[in-house]
């Protein structure tokens, strides 16, 4: 990855492509690349849907290699949903293919005049941007089917559905999986709306004629990757739990803990959780001829995804993840997996974030638009988004907008981004991350649970409540670093418990780039990314007062533990004091 492509969509005479060297961004990938470019090049007060914003697409530092789990793609911009800097990442094939073509980043800049819609083809011969108005308002599944007829099956596709074209704030960018289904999404923060604002409908990435990226030390890289894979396979989470049940294995556990938000965060448990659990879901998928074990990109050894078929055994959607099953399920009082799967398909097809969409439907239920538990009503509301009706445009703009339009007080957002599936009153520590992350409420912002090995910021006594501030800080630093590698965050379990697996990861990074990589280097990278993101947000007008949870988390105890969120403001303000 030795070049950066800049595509000025607003250039006089039509989009203009410039390919240059890495310059100050040498050695970066993934979130490090997207955030440092946005922080340096986007005016912090720019309108997110305007010409000044940039959409940065970057494979991870190890993407495009023979290394396992290296297929995450980062997309960054100023978020139209939160107004903050944003990095949203996804699996699928795009990162591997783009990296093999040598691009450390593809940056969409400017904004075209007029109403033309563009597609971008990236291959070994260069980058070609052409008008294709036949794609207008197509949703992702039919869009990809149409593109496949022209570009075939040996490419990767990135695309937006109708939500992105309409610049809805919940809009996502889809990346195709190995079966060329548009199932893996850069979901959070409305990145799809930014792509839509630049009038780019699809990016076709073709690595024909390209080879795997060669490591500086092939033997050492191969050996490190082997040890890394062994570590993933022998760990009970990455080697057994996730392959068997996927992330939805969390439903039963979170519900049992009283940390499963139900009925728009009014309860901490849901009576129908067993009907939604990963165990139930996996059994149903297998019974219907689908699969509960499937990788979202080639080279994945964890295989936490699956294929969800309908009652007749026909493909309906990919295996909905825990957060999706929660947002469209218990959060809305719905305990039917077929309904959730249908909604997951609609979300992927329209191109909206499943967390934002589900949480928004729950807020709409709280507003009385439909009743909690109304399965057909929930589907109807998402179809309103697809049709682009006035109601659909409100809902497609997320929970915060919907709450304001309908006068709902209980709106679970931070920096206008919907909270994921873990109630911060039961798990106070994750509330610290929700409140303080640079991204708006995001469970993956502090996810890289390897801080005990990294010793980020020195040793912490985790058995003290005060340690939660340090834990959240350290988790966010570690996550920012992992997000830059292109590695799937689920590797975190194995590297937390198995020092030799963490060392194997460091050795992969080191042998690939011909350097010696230590835990301190990883920490430094994470801090560098977070510092740039915080600085951007500060210049965009965000203060410590935005690093708070909505007041109802402080005022409304949640059953069964009858707890409120108890972290003090001054404690939250310490998270980024390093």
């Amino acid at each position: 990855m030795d070049k950066i492509a800049r595509i000025d969509m607003g250039a006089a005479g039509g989009p203009k492509v410039t390919v240059g060297d890495l310059g100050v961004y040498a050695g970066l990938g993934g979130r490090a690349m997207t955030s440092l470019v946005v922080a340096a090049e986007v005016h912090p007060l720019a309108h997110p849907l305007g010409a000044e914003n940039k959409l940065v697409i970057s494979p991870g530092m190890l993407s495009g290699t023979t290394g396992s789990m290296t297929g995450r793609l980062s997309v960054g911009c100023k978020s139209p949903l939160t107004g903050t800097i944003k990095e949203s990442n996804a699996g699928g094939q795009a990162a591997q293919v783009l990296a093999r073509l040598g691009y450390a980043a593809v940056i969409l800049e400017g904004k075209p005049e007029g109403d033309d819609l563009y597609k971008i083809v990236i291959n070994k011969d260069g980058i070609h941007v052409t008008v294709d108005n036949s794609l207008k308002l197509m949703d992702n599944y039919p869009l990809i089917e149409k593109l496949r007829k022209e570009y075939g099956d040996k490419v990767a596709y990135m695309s937006i559905g109708s939500a992105g074209e309409r610049k809805l704030l919940a809009a996502s960018i889809a990346c195709t999986d190995p079966e060329l289904r548009p199932t893996r999404h850069c979901g959070r923060g409305g990145v799809g709306a930014v792509m839509g604002a630049k009038r780019v409908k699809a990016i076709i990435i073709d690595d024909a004629g390209c080879k795997m990226r060669p490591p500086k030390d092939p033997d050492a890289y191969r050996d490190a990757n082997r040890k890394f894979v062994e570590g993933l396979r022998k760990h009970p989470v990455t080697g057994e739990g996730l392959p068997a049940y996927g992330t939805n294995v969390l439903t039963n556990v979170l519900n049992e803990a009283g940390g499963y938000p139900s009925y728009n965060f009014k309860g901490g448990q849901f009576a129908g959780s067993n009907n939604l659990s990963g165990e139930t879901q996996a059994a149903l998928e297998i019974e219907r001829g689908g699969t509960a074990t499937h990788g979202c990109h080639r080279g994945c050894v964890i295989q936490c995804s699956g294929v969800y078929n309908d009652k007749d055994g026909h493909y309906l959607t990919k295996q909905p993840e825990y957060e999706t099953v929660w947002s469209h399920g218990g959060h809305c009082g719905i305990d039917d997996l077929d309904t959730v799967a249908h909604l997951d398909f609609l979300d992927d097809n329209i191109g909206v974030d499943t967390i934002e969409m589900g949480v928004t439907i729950g807020v709409a239920m709280d507003a009385g638009i439909i009743e909690f538990g109304d399965k057909a009503g929930a589907i109807r509301l998402v179809e309103e988004v697809q049709k682009g009706t006035p109601l659909g445009r409100v809902l497609g703009s997320g929970a915060a907008i919907t709450g304001k339009v309908f006068g709902v007080e209980r709106v679970p957002v931070v920096k206008d981004q919907a909270l994921p599936a873990y109630d911060p009153r039961a798990v106070q520590g994750i509330g610290v991350t929700y409140a303080t992350t640079t991204q708006g409420a995001d469970h993956t912002a502090g996810y890289a649970i390897a801080t005990n090995i990294l010793k980020v910021g020195g040793d912490v006594d985790p058995l003290k409540t005060e340690g939660q501030i340090e834990l959240s800080r350290n988790l966010q630093i570690a996550t920012a670093a992992i997000d830059s590698t292109g590695m799937c965050l689920f590797i975190a379990f194995a590297i937390m418990d198995q020092p030799e697996t963490f060392q194997a990861l460091l050795d992969m990074l080191g042998s690939f780039h011909g350097i010696t990589m230590t835990g301190d280097d990883v920490v430094a990278l994470g801090k560098k990314v977070l510092s740039a993101e915080r600085d951007f947000n500060t210049r965009a007008g965000f203060t410590k007062h935005h690093d708070r949870l909505p007041r109802f988390f402080y005022n409304e105890p949640i059953a069964p533990h009858n707890q409120t969120f108890m972290m003090k403001d001054e404690e939250l303000d310490e998270v980024f004091n390093w």
């Binding site: 989470v237 739990g241 294995v249 556990v253 803990a257 059994a283 825990y322 106070q428 379990f493 707890q563």
Partner: protein
């Protein structure tokens, strides 16, 4: 429930039918236990679960919805709800882990108790099994016996396909054989009664 079972039902099934009970087991079933003891005593001495297995595989435990850190101090009581799980993904999954590094993040809901006022007697306990522990521990609980309400049993029986009954070698209701076993589908049980169900599994 907590009432004397009105009937005893024993099923003898092929091993591949175990999965049919997973929905019941994850929702929770009532079992009898000697309460007033610590969880490590309950698991190892009453249920025959090896301490090594408990340490390596039962890494997440909830007692009355509170994550447990120490089996040696948590005390089981009459009518307690005990949920057993393998290691969980995600940051929050890691926080729920027994004695885990991130336990502080859920400190407010962690199990805190002493043995005070824990009476020593036989009493019902509700057990839930999740994820990897379903196939590994499910058969043992079913073999020892579980108590279901009549409605739970009726729902379970009505949901079984023909293949389940083909894999059912025998059914004994209060020690009397039901022939064929699928005739259970038409067997009425008093609506407010409970039934003691035990199941043995054998290779096909």
């Amino acid at each position: 429930m907590n009432k004397t079972p009105a009937a005893r039902l024993h099923l003898s099934l092929q091993a591949d039918q175990l999965g049919a009970f997973f929905p019941l087991l994850q929702k929770g079933v009532e079992v009898e236990a000697h309460v007033g003891c610590t969880l490590d005593t309950l698991l190892s001495q009453q249920w025959g679960i090896a301490p090594e297995y408990a340490a390596e595989r039962i890494t997440t435990i909830f007692l009355d919805s509170r994550p447990v850190d120490s089996l040696a101090t948590a005390v089981i009581r009459a009518d307690s709800v005990l949920a057993l799980s393998g290691a969980m993904p995600g940051l929050v999954g890691a926080t729920m882990r027994r004695g885990g590094y991130y336990a502080a993040m859920r400190e407010g809901i962690s199990y805190r108790d002493t043995a005070a006022n824990a009476s020593d007697r036989i009493a019902p306990v509700r057990v839930k099994l999740f994820n990897l522990l379903l196939p590994e521990l499910g058969a043992g609980f079913l073999q020892r016996g579980i108590t279901l309400s009549a409605s739970e049993l009726a729902l379970f029986i009505s949901g079984r396909s023909d293949s389940f009954w083909q894999g059912c070698r025998s059914a004994l209701l209060d020690d009397i054989p039901l022939v064929p076993p699928s005739s259970l589908r038409t067997k009425p049980f008093p609506t407010d009664s409970t039934i003691r169900l035990s199941v043995t599994f054998s290779s096909p």
